[in-house]
Symmetry: C2
Subunit: 555 residues, 2 copies
């Protein structure tokens, strides 16, 4: 097989239709590497769905080529699909990432009882060979430590993927973006750049994470009572800054919320989060400590009703409840769709009378994604021949494409793809290739599968209109309906004796009138007839259209 | 009856738990006036609900005292409950408001077939006597013309209610806030001020509506193809500015969307919207006109899936569809909860490749509510003895209270109430009075009633987990289950023969095993037993918990 004849294919299986489920296939001849394996959280149009995964059929079908999985950083939209993917693969594939990212993955895999994964920790500057695909890692700054961009070399050309990034010159752990490596790779020639588009609509330069530390310190210092800080549990640098501010103010730290407890433990064990054990208190163990000596680090920055913050605000937390004299800092921004939930928590807190700070009043949050000036800087440093914006909704990808255009990349070398589309690179030149199977897979309970869209449509219908079950008993002897019974859920009218009598009469009458001939049509047609008659009966009586579930039984 | 002994009671029945369903009772001895009668739109926690009304039982119980309904302006959160209230009242009560507000109400009442309401148009400066309660109207600027604040005089003291307002010195129709009247009323003494809190968290001064005109003109002037402007249909001044900008650029106007058509018609008839008939085209009638000569005014600024903008973006509109060469202006801000829907429409438009402007890029929208400097100005001009922030969520009311405190109103004269609480004024002094029946009433189909919270809980459960109906036929002779049948909706597993056989067996086995004794317990207990067995069976098989609807029938 003449490797030289086979293109490098770049196939995004997720990440181009919104912020989430990032997963990109790199395939060159007999070798394949998977870059990230993330999930997406469901929105209102997907009721009852636990998680949304990218459809990775293409990876499974080509498992024999899969040389490794490379993870850029430890956020759910980059690692969340891993447990599912690993369960679906026949062989153990090595997973390459930073120590912290692998530590977070380890916790997830343990929940799924996935034993002894082949973890391969790497550091910035490492280069690994995965068949004919080599991957070099370079540090990038983001809202989680241990994040990488990657530079990929193949016989057909070179690709750089930024990972999620901002260009923070004063990161909390001192690990700056590896400008030296980026420029060295640029010197080797970048034929295609894939870059984070999340903030491509934001003018300027995203503020450094360090800027948040000052605001946190000011608020904590001014506070008279306890201070509660809600943040993403994976934002280790934010947690570090809260702890540092607490210490400077002579306060102890209480950690609460499941993921906050897990992540602080993992990050401390691996040396990413530095807190003196003496500065941490158990939530059960604060009774003797004055309020002015306590900072509580908690989950719930997205207004999740079961999170620590919501429970503490509503008096439903096991050990802590928020009082008038407390101060609450929402050190995060609502993920789109969560705005109202967050506002509800803020209102609950306001009702208690405590002080609430979010980023509209103080700089208690900054984004982890670079704004336009950073994206342009990245494009300028990488000076790629071809460009494909990734990690964003359509508006973000298009805005990023505009930036690239302004930096002189011609339109025909900028690729706005959909999930499942592909790019093919031959000798450094890139064009759109064939598409592969793609889409989404819903996780709902135990089941992992391509949940029928009808299920979601049915759920929305049930949510809006409720349901009425109608059971018709048909006598096999008389071939007539002997009895009808109704049961309603989520409907705004009462199914009482009068309703049942009238609805039964309506069904009986309509079916006797000849609109249905039981002997000729069987139960399927009878079921449909019963459903239609009842639906019209309910409409005329209530002007609602609940979902009718007709059951016909022969006795 | 010695009137002097009976206090003036101020009872907010809505409007203190969010932006919506504003309704305030003013009651003094034998006389009662209702200020506004608004609705609220449901949120995600109220699936399938059409509208939310304030519980106005108190008004109905005291109908004999009701001398009039005063409406400050024509927004749904101030007029939307009127059709329901008028249907529930026995007598025709006069309704006082501006010509435009009454025109908008007239359209609503016509939809409800409510005949010949007693409309009483008023203008700024008018004073009406409603029994012992006199109401004076003064112009206020807001995002709809014809808005008033009111000054209420009674034997017990004076109350000012600002209505919804900003202090716009350059309003589009030239009708400025009636500072002269506000100051004259202040001179007579304002014992209690009720003031709009919507933007109490916003520092500074809200920009004038006129500022939007410039941005609209710039975008329309630069556009090569058609320009689509989505806005609230009631924002007559915004529509005027779009029309003016279109005219200046030599473009004709096309109006589409039901409420946009209705409101432009009403506003033109009443002289609030000034467009030359020759400048308006029918949507069916644009074929000969070049794209560069067209502005389309449409509904859909909130991302509503059935609105004109969504339909035009998705190719589902009867006459117009948006193309790559078009420009779209979202001249509005998403109401909390609508952010994601709006973002989805923007992404659909970006996918088409057209230019999209919202207020993040250009000043194509300003708020209709005053910011902190305006609220402070209002407090300073009115210099009330007592203050009650209204029209807002808890955070807004508290922020407004803070402003009042900073202006020197002592804490004990600032009242943060809940809906249904009351204030009592005697000789100009105010204290908290007894509460009255209050709450929300859901409109769902024809039914107007206090929808059981169980209905909403059931709907959410149905949406999340789907439902499985199980019908068990019990033979009266053998007292045993003869047959079981299953039917599922919105569940992520398949109810096939294998499922049915196993589930039936599980039910039969458990019931034979003695966990249920049919002869002693009757069908209710059997129903519960069947439900529990099936629920556990499904959990063990699928790790989901759909709502089980058990039907037991005896034959």
């Amino acid at each position: 097989m003449a490797k030289k004849n086979q293109p490098l294919r770049i196939i995004p299986l997720g990440g181009l239709d919104g912020i989430g489920k990032n997963m990109t296939v790199l395939e060159c001849g007999p070798d394949m590497v998977l870059l990230d394996a993330g999930l997406m959280f469901p929105d209102d149009s997907q009721p009852g769905i636990d998680l949304v995964l990218p459809d990775y059929t293409y990876v499974l079908e080509n498992e024999s080529k899969l040389r490794g999985i490379v993870i850029t950083h430890g956020h759910e939209d980059h690692i969340g699909a891993l447990p599912y993917l690993l369960q679906d693969l026949n062989n153990k594939v090595p997973i390459y990432s930073s120590k912290l990212t692998l530590g977070l993955i380890e916790g997830k895999l343990a929940e799924f009882k996935i034993k002894s994964p082949r973890f391969r920790p790497v550091v910035s500057g490492d280069k690994i060979e995965l068949g004919g695909i080599s991957v070099s890692f370079f540090s990038m700054t983001h809202s989680i430590p241990g994040g990488f961009g990657v530079f990929i070399q193949t016989s057909q050309g070179n690709v750089m993927h930024t990972g999620d990034f901002k260009l923070d010159q004063t990161p909390i752990d001192g690990v700056r973006p590896a400008f030296d490596l980026i420029n060295r790779f640029a010197g080797e020639g970048i034929d295609l750049l894939l870059s984070d588009s999340t903030n491509a609509n934001m003018p300027g330069f995203t503020k450094s994470e360090a800027a948040v530390g000052e605001a946190l310190y000011e608020v904590i210092k001014e506070a008279q009572g306890r201070v509660f800080v809600a943040s993403f549990a994976s934002h280790i640098h934010r947690l570090q800054q809260v702890c540092d501010a607490a210490r400077s103010c002579g306060r102890k730290i209480v950690v609460t919320g499941r993921s906050m407890l897990t992540n602080t433990r993992v990050a401390r064990e691996l040396g990413y989060l530095k807190i003196d054990a003496r500065d941490i208190l158990d939530a059960y163990d604060v009774s003797g400590i004055p309020d002015s000596k306590i900072v509580v680090l908690c989950t719930g920055s997205q207004g999740e009703p079961l999170s620590a913050l919501s429970r503490m605000a509503n008096g439903e937390h096991k050990t802590l409840s928020i009082r008038e004299t407390d101060t609450v800092i929402i050190s995060a921004t609502p993920v789109p769709g969560n705005e109202k939930a967050v506002q509800q928590v803020i209102n609950s807190l306001a009702k208690l009378g405590c002080e609430v700070y979010d980023k509209s009043q103080k700089l208690v949050h900054v984004s982890g994604h670079g704004s336009q000036e950073e994206l342009k800087l990245m494009l300028a440093m990488a000076h790629p021949t071809h460009f494909m914006p990734v990690h964003g909704e359509t508006v973000h990808l298009r805005a990023h494409a505009d930036l690239a255009r302004r930096l002189g990349i011609p339109d025909e070398r900028i690729f706005l793809l959909d999930n499942g589309d592909s790019l093919e690179m031959r000798d450094g030149s890139v064009r759109v290739g064939p598409s592969v199977e793609s889409g989404v897979v819903y996780v709902d309970g135990l089941r992992i599968g391509d949940t029928d869209p009808i299920v979601l449509r049915d759920r929305q219908k049930l949510a809006n209109d409720g349901t009425v079950t109608v059971v018709a008993i048909v006598s096999l002897r008389s071939k007539r309906i002997d009895a009808v019974e109704f049961s309603g859920r989520g409907v705004s009218f009462t199914i009482d004796d009068s309703f049942s009598a009238d609805a039964s009469a309506s069904i009986m009458r309509s079916i006797e009138k000849g609109s249905f001939n039981y002997t000729n049509s069987g139960t399927d047609a009878l079921r449909k007839a019963v459903r239609d008659v009842l639906s019209n009966f309910i409409w005329s009586r209530t002007h609602t259209r609940p979902m009718i579930i007709p059951v016909v039984m022969e006795v």
